[in-house]
Subunit: 177 residues, 2 copies
Amino acid sequence: MLDERSITVLRLGQRYVRDDRTLTHLCLVSRALGAEAIYLEDVEKDIPATVKEVNDAWGGKFEVVTGKPARKVIAEAKTDGRKVVHLTMYGLPLQDEVRELREAKKILVVVGGPKVPGYVYHSADYNVAVTSQPHSEIAALAILLHEVQSGEELKRNFGKSKLRIIPSARGKRVVES
Amino acid sequence: MLDERSITVLRLGQRYVRDDRTLTHLCLVSRALGAEAIYLEDVEKDIPATVKEVNDAWGGKFEVVTGKPARKVIAEAKTDGRKVVHLTMYGLPLQDEVRELREAKKILVVVGGPKVPGYVYHSADYNVAVTSQPHSEIAALAILLHEVQSGEELKRNFGKSKLRIIPSARGKRVVES
């Protein structure tokens, strides 16, 4: 089921807020929870390298694409038949929209930043809220990815990897392969 | 159903990593997704004030408790009959443990930091992983809170508030009361 669905993520610009840590969280959450790629409007030097290290150690082919303008990412997604889902606290409740979203084979999730331009609300197929309370774009993205994939993403296999965790009731077990 | 369950969160020490933004996200996610309080081991000056402003504007009585040692928070939780759930990528898969967690009326969620002391793994009733991949404690907390409450937390009413969002398919609608 997972393999039939393609999810990509777009993080809107960061130009005025230096916040590499939030950006790193967004990349790693996208990767861990089943997205294929994240588009970052602004180039952040260290982030593609950090994500590559995580792929090398823990598996998978998650991609970080930098430097493509958000408008272009959204336009290309639409041409490609992706449903564009904009996460915003002003949107319609996720729990009311999720059934439709689960039917989409291809999705672009747009994660806002401090100032979201008006065109994003209008070009999105869905403006969706994970509660109408202020909290965290990282948390909102996680719950959206989790709900759209009905929790199946938690069982995802990352294929060949250098490191692998053996889940334990207590303590840490990591094997090298 | 929500009101029968009590969830609190403990963020383990931050002493060596200055990362107020992650801490703010953890507080606001805990609040938005139905926890009552978060315990922060280290005092971060601005955070209780930030959260108070959010409560004042958006409702609810979420509490930030600072300065109590983690060991004490965990010991008191256990005395109080709370199940202690430690989030760690080394733990057992959430999807395998969630049925039991949903039965607990009172929970303390422990969110690790860079170096989690061994006693945490041993004093926790559950060591639970949201995937065995590295990602984000903010995302892991969000998905745990969401799953434990079966998504009911998304419908939570925050009572009297200065500001309230009217969910919209496009654009932003905020009302003042």
